[in-house]
């Protein structure tokens, strides 16, 4: 190759490298100081710029490398290093390939609730998606896989996130107020909502993020050590790690801990009924009142199965609270809000707490504005006028909208600000000073 070409290449790539380095610095600075949109800065810094940077660096060093090689007296040594590098790389890939093939089936856990069809095809019956999977295929949830005609959970024992949260963050307002709850999640989700706030873990395969391996025993042990009174299955959709959640919940009950499921309620009745004896409270995301909304905002959702799930939970006596994320222009019309409130009142009763929470632009709906606080206040008022006793607004700093009132005397029972309890005027059994009983789990 002509040294002229290499020299020119070295020159040009040097200037390009300088330009890329400046861009790399700006996008990095942009990520921390938010001088440019965070998504754009992260995308540039982590995904786009490293590629040309590496390529131009390679082109830049060719000319000095050539000169070095020409003058180096022991070319054979460098040639042998080249040989070692190539053969070593080949050996490394064989080792990796072998390791991956062994790990792929060893790491999975047998799944429940599926039926075997012909030709090693299986149908997963855990959620209403009822994915039909050929060998090797993965469900919509990115968490369950058909391996040679048997369904496995790919996320069992793989914790993607764990925190000690205030219970009010779930949000659960009638369940051990002011306490801390040990919260865990894996990866994956069966609804894939466009407004997902935890998409970094819920919309990925388990190998795409760092996970920590923990047995159910270790999770319960850790929860007890943390001083929490309960374990929450939250952040991503717990239904998709059903087997793991079931084993932990069963063990937690034996060790005297309470259990909470924070879910979209997209699960079939059979697995739900099997789980209910080990769960103390459910928080269900009732995303919208219509199929149209579920179809537009989720991967393949329908509203009917979610309604069915809430009815089953209510009938079972397990504590239930409902959250409706109010999204501007999507589910915030008076008609939608009224229909949702009426459905809750007529099917679940007036005692079920209903939280209207504020939408923040995220994931695939980063183009929408946050919900106006007035819309949330309007929804709360509408629900209370229609007879619901415990209606809250969330994701906003509003003491009144976060306070539990005794329904008859209108005295404040629990006053909250954000995730924190400022005042708790209830006795240990959930009675107001006026003698009214507020439903919930208080100890």
């Amino acid at each position: 190759m002509s040294p002229k070409i290499l020299f020119k290449l070295c020159q040009i790539s040097g200037w390009v490298l300088l330009f890329l380095a400046i861009l790399f610095f700006i996008s990095g600075y942009g990520m921390t100081k938010q001088i440019i949109p965070l998504d754009l800065a992260t995308w540039l810094h982590n995904q786009i710029l490293p590629v040309p940077f590496l390529i131009f660096l390679f082109l830049h060093i060719l000319f000095p490398l050539r000169n070095f090689l020409r003058r180096f007296p022991f070319k054979i040594i460098l040639a042998v290093l080249f040989l070692i590098f190539i053969v070593g790389l080949a050996g490394f890939f064989i080792y990796r390939s072998e390791k991956t093939s062994k790990e792929s089936s060893k790491d999975f856990y047998p799944a429940k609730f599926y039926e075997a069809l012909d030709n090693k095809i299986v149908r997963c019956n855990l959620c209403p998606n009822r994915c039909v999977l050929s060998p090797g295929q993965i469900g919509l949830c990115k968490a369950r896989k058909n391996v040679d005609g048997k369904l496995y959970s790919m996320v069992y024992g793989k914790i993607a996130s764990q925190h000690l949260d205030p219970i009010e963050k779930k949000p659960l307002f009638h369940f051990l107020p002011g306490s801390l709850i040990y919260s865990i999640s894996t990866t994956g989700c069966n609804l894939q909502c466009k407004f997902c706030q935890n998409w970094q873990i819920s919309q990925v395969f388990p190998w795409e993020v760092e996970t920590k391996k923990m047995t159910p025993e270790e999770v319960v042990e850790e929860a007890i050590k943390s001083g929490a009174k309960a374990i929450a299955f939250t952040y991503n959709e717990p239904v998709i790690y059903y087997e793991y959640m079931y084993d932990i919940a069963k063990l937690a009950k034996e060790r005297g801990l309470k259990t909470v499921v924070v879910s979209s309620g997209y699960i079939n009745p059979e697995p739900l009924k099997e789980l209910l004896p080990y769960i103390d409270a459910f928080k269900i995301d009732f995303k919208g009142i219509s199929d149209k909304f579920y179809q537009k905002m989720t991967v393949s959702g329908k509203v009917e199965p979610v309604m069915e799930v809430m009815k089953i939970i209510k009938e079972s006596g397990v504590w239930l609270e409902i959250v409706n994320l109010v999204i501007p222009g999507e589910n915030d019309s008076d008609e939608d809000l009224k229909n949702l409130i009426l459905w809750v009142r007529d099917n679940l009763g007036t005692d079920v707490p209903l939280h209207f929470t504020r939408f923040h632009p995220d994931y695939k709906l980063s183009n929408l504005p946050p919900t106006p606080i007035e819309t949330l206040k309007k929804a709360r008022k509408m629900a209370m006028d229609l007879g619901l006793k415990y209606v809250y607004i969330g994701n906003v700093d509003d003491v009144e909208g976060s306070t539990t009132y005794c329904p008859e005397s209108k005295e404040p029972a629990i006053v909250r600000r954000g995730f924190f309890v400022l005042e708790n005027n209830l006795d240990g059994e959930g009675f107001c000073k006026s003698g009214e009983k507020i439903p919930g789990i208080w100890k």
């Binding site: 190759m1 002509s2 070409i5 290499l6 290449l9 995904q47 786009i48 590629v51 040309p52 590496l54 390529i55 390679f58 082109l59 060719l62 050539r66 090689l69 070319k75 054979i76 460098l78 040639a79 042998v80 080249f82 040989l83 190539i86 053969v87 790389l89 080949a90 050996g91 890939f93 064989i94 990796r96 390939s97 991956t100 030709n119 090693k120 050929s134 060998p135 090797g136 295929q137 993965i138 919509l140 990115k142 391996v147 040679d148 395969f205």
Partner: protein, 203 residues
């Protein structure tokens, strides 16, 4: 549609360096083994890239549509037979048995198409980023979207392959040509034995 376009490009860009390093043990000896001009080195790399392109297209269609009907075992067998073929080709080339003038039982044109064939076999072969792309294609369940996904994934990973042609300056040095021959044979033998081991294990 955004997922079908942006996702494979980002996947290709972020995992392309891994793709390139997987192909590197096959492609580098090939580029360094014979003394050529820069233009010819580029031709070799481009032929290899086109081979990969057809390999990806074939598998995009295969997994996007037929993916629902094939078993893991069939796919694995196919992968390792392709790997064995690729390794065998590299060994033949490194031994100098594929020549333009007096090739053994092979047409002179065969030498010119060898990089394409190697690229094709590489393209349909299993490597971790490729497996990741398959997982996504599996979720699509659609023929044309499968092809589009693999096509864009291919284009993004190709960014890393073109600079390999510049390695050609090493083929001007006698010692490197000799070492490239040895490494071609060693790499070929390693992958050949590995693919036989996996084929026997599968059967």
């Amino acid at each position: 549609m955004k997922e079908i376009i942006l996702q494979p490009i980002l996947l290709g860009l972020s995992s392309g360096i891994f793709c390139m390093s997987y192909c590197f043990p096959f492609l580098a000896p090939f580029v360094v083994l014979e003394e050529r001009k820069l233009k010819e080195d580029f031709k070799v790399v481009l032929k290899f890239i086109f081979g990969r392109f057809f390999g990806y297209l074939l598998f995009g269609a295969f997994f996007g549509y037929l993916g629902e009907k094939i078993t893991n075992k069939t796919v694995d067998l196919f992968f390792f037979f392709a790997l064995a073929g690729l390794s065998f080709l590299l060994i033949l080339y490194s031994f100098g048995l594929i020549r333009e003038k007096r090739g053994i039982c092979l047409s002179p044109k065969f030498k010119k198409t060898t990089p394409f064939l190697m690229g094709f076999l590489m393209g349909i072969n299993v490597c971790p980023p490729f497996l990741m792309a398959i997982n996504y294609a599996f979720l699509l369940h659609k023929f044309f979207e499968g092809i589009l996904f693999f096509l864009l994934f291919f284009l993004a990973t190709t960014t890393y392959f073109l600079p390999i042609a510049f390695l050609g300056f090493l083929n001007k040095i006698k010692e490197f040509r000799m070492v490239a021959k040895i490494s071609g044979i060693l790499v070929g033998l390693m992958f050949l034995f590995y693919s036989f081991y996996r084929i026997i294990k599968i059967i």
